[in-house]
Amino acid sequence: MYRYDEFDHAFLAERNRQFRAQVARRLDGSLSEDEFRPLRLMNGLYLQLHAYMLRVAIPYGTLNPAQLRKLAEIAERWDRGYGHFTTRQNIQFNWPRLIDVPDMLDALAEVGLHAIQTSGNTVRNVTADHFAGAAADEIDDPRPWAELIRQWSTDHPEFQFLPRKFKIAITGSPHDRAVTRAHDIGLRMLRRKDGAEGFEVIVGGGLGRTPMLGPVIRDFLPASDLLPYLEAILATYNLLGRRDNKYKARIKITVHENGLDTFRELVEARFAEIAPDFDRQTTAAELARIRAMFASPLLESKSEYAFHEAHQRDPVFRAWADTNLHPHRAKGHAIVTVSLKAHGETPGDATSEQMRLIADLAERYGHGEIRVSHEQNLILPHVARGDLPALHAALKAAGLATANAGLLSDIIACPGMDYCALATARSIPVAQEIATHFDRLRLEHDIGPLKIKISGCINACGHHHVGHIGILGLDRAGVENYQITLGGDGSEDASLGSRTGPGFAHDEIVPAIERILRAYLELRENRDETFLAAYRRLGAAPFKAALYEGNRADAA
């Protein structure tokens, strides 16, 4: 993975020194809150419902064991012994004290982590396929490009005050695990028949109050043009984007209001202007330097006997292996999803102890690599299949071996009203109640692949629009009310879910989900027809009928 050089370290040290001084000036009264607020936000420090919240960027979701141990230490020393992994592949600490934050930032800097550009109208953490560099279906590892984008966009003087925040996602695989069409810019690596590498460039996707799937602005952008082309998009947006209305300021609205063709013309014109002067040599050299740091570990093939033996003998291991493993490009290896979704726990939370254990296991069995998925799990991307039984046993002892990756209880849930100052309803308890309810019914494995995603307000951090079942928590006259959407999908066949109708009170939401899923079990052609496939075949009608039949849904 990327290792900081002296320049990077010096930059972070200087930023942290500045912030320490700013905190001191806030505390001694020389800075008012109005003056301090933008400064703390530039360093990822939010004020939430019950406390400050520090959001730390995990670039393209890649961590090494030292970094994960440092996050564990920070959680223990200055927070409440856990951290929350988010859909942005970031980690959030929910309880830091203002006076401790400079120390926390210094501790992060020791392992090359920071909280810069995790807030504000800047280019935020670049997210990537969490199976990058390991997936069998991958064209190439997208992370060197993601790192290049990170370096280019960090502290980029022209793009510190964009009309609104800006999110870029990248995948190197035709199977889109990075939800590229729901980002301001989505990049999909392509390799043409003639061997030329490039990107399909998607612009103007986003969820939130106006969900849109981004259209393709360039079918094939030669890889070497990536930075000047991104620069052209950002520059065009920076000029054209609406600053008069916060709700119309995202690039999706800019593209929508001006039309894709007009927007594309402007981008191409700008690109033609800046491309010739772009320093491609330096960029290529930097990319080569970065690439060397992302070289794949040496994956030696080992005996798979232990795997087969455990798979036959141990039903618990078998259930886990059948759901939480993903095909690796190297023979005899697997990508492991470490579920942070134990039934009844908070999705995405990991205690310091769990983080340390995962760091140890990554070292012992996984070539020291860890990923954070936007689905709020941790990933060990390179594990020899023969080591899986031992790995599983160690995870199980720490409550980290729930066999539910990609299943009903692998729910994305934003912090919602339990933490978030913007929330209109709770998300976490809804996720917990759904997970425990269906676990009791023992229906989860029967139902099969299913993505439930929950947001606690219209901002849609929980990606509910692209959940096969999406749940949006709202405040209806002072009471929590949950709207359901069906048929959303964040993959390469992306679609936005459609609202079923009136919402449900908090205590009605679990039975509502059960009615939908019982209908699915009745309606599916066979076990291989997933919920999403059945929905696409049948449309919303039979599910709505089941949902509202004889039901006392209020007419919210």
């Binding site: 806030r26 505390l27 009264g29 008012s32 809150e33 004020l47 939430q48 419902l49 019950h50 406390a51 400050y52 223990e76 409440r80 012994g81 856990y82 309880w95 830091p96 004290r97 203002l98 006076i99 009844g344 908070t346 939370d349 205690t351 310091s352 102890e353 009203m417 339990d418 933490y419 929330a423 709770r426 976490i428 308890p429 917990q432 405040d475 002072g478 009471v479 929590e480």
Partner: protein
């Protein structure tokens, strides 16, 4: 037209800890909503808010929240304020402290 006066409290987050706090009758800040001074006069409430906002060395983001009278002091009208009073749902914040 006679209306029951809207009862209000002044609430904010403490500058250093960020925790939710309520303005008390003695002019201090308490982490317990039950300790809050209840205003039934909107003008007094506004004045207290203005005063609190000026003390930005102690608290951040002060605002007025409607309450109703309860047996053990003021109680929240809106569930958001109930969350601020009670903290996250127990299950959401239940982690074995390592």
């Amino acid at each position: 037209m006679s209306r029951k006066p809207q009862l209000q409290v002044v609430t904010a987050n403490a500058l250093i800890s960020g925790h939710s706090v309520w303005l008390t009758a003695s002019g201090g800040w308490s982490p317990r909503m039950g300790d809050a001074r209840v205003f039934d006069d909107p003008q007094q409430a506004q004045a207290a808010l203005a005063h609190a906002t000026a003390r930005s060395d102690i608290v951040v983001g002060a605002y007025l929240a409607p309450v109703r009278a309860g047996v053990a002091g003021p109680e929240p009208v809106h569930f958001r304020e109930a969350f601020r009073r009670d903290g996250p749902s127990p299950a959401a914040n239940a982690h074995p402290r390592s």
